[in-house]
Symmetry: C2
Subunit: 150 residues, 2 copies
Amino acid sequence: MSGELEPIDQAIVRELAADGRRSFTDLAERVGLSVSAVHQRVRRLEQRAVIRGYTARLDAEAIGLPLTAFISLSPIDPAAPDDYPQRLEHIEEIESCYSVAGDYSYVLLVRVASPTDLEELLRKIRESAKVSTRTTVVLSTPYEGRTPAL
Amino acid sequence: MSGELEPIDQAIVRELAADGRRSFTDLAERVGLSVSAVHQRVRRLEQRAVIRGYTARLDAEAIGLPLTAFISLSPIDPAAPDDYPQRLEHIEEIESCYSVAGDYSYVLLVRVASPTDLEELLRKIRESAKVSTRTTVVLSTPYEGRTPAL
DNA sequence: GCTGAAAATGCCTGGAT
DNA sequence: ATCCAGGCATTTTCAGC
């Protein structure tokens, strides 16, 4: 129903993924359309939530969050309702939350300032969601958040 | 050396993480500074690579990549040089690559259109990097790429 | 849905405090 | 390092095709 994307919309989306601050003038040249046509299409892509927003890509170290980790969650009580993402939503250190198939129910990507903060975060997560955790510390990040192929 | 970030720069960075297309006028109001002062600071944050760029946040499903997975890598030949990220860099389906401590050497986050494409991608990864893989399929994504706490 | 142009807004460079 | 001001570019709307 909504999986399709016209070639021109594809081009627009690709350009905005590469540089989210590109001007409509610039976009128009690159995709070969008038400025107002591009403007219209971008607004529609935003409304359809194909484009969900725009963000600055930050250097985690530079903003004081040099420690990244994956935290995998297992429910302790198998009878408890599966509302873990909600229970954890308020914890700001959690950047992403994935429901996964496999040995664990969820995988979280978290960023903190120090090992001490990671320890405290783990305590908070276990407490908030009644889960056991398995943590994989990220040593370095060769690349991250690259532009998708389209 | 580079771990610090002044309160005003923090505020700017936070605003641009929340909305990467915010105008300088808008930013100036929000952080309580003149437009040109904000302009200057943003330019410097970009130059210092605290801000590494801007990007549109896309709905993976809407752009035709509904299948997300984590792929963990183990070297096959322990004597081979550790240049896996480089060997995999050309594969566009790989969005992120993390070097991790734990049972595996690297974790990749990948996005593809279908299980068939995932199968083919795995073949490509094993071939390019001479590694064995363990794949964790993402069933759903409650949230992703949230703005860091700062 | 695209175009082209007009009006409003915002960008961004200098120069002064 | 911040503010002010001017010219310039961009955004945004609207009428016509």
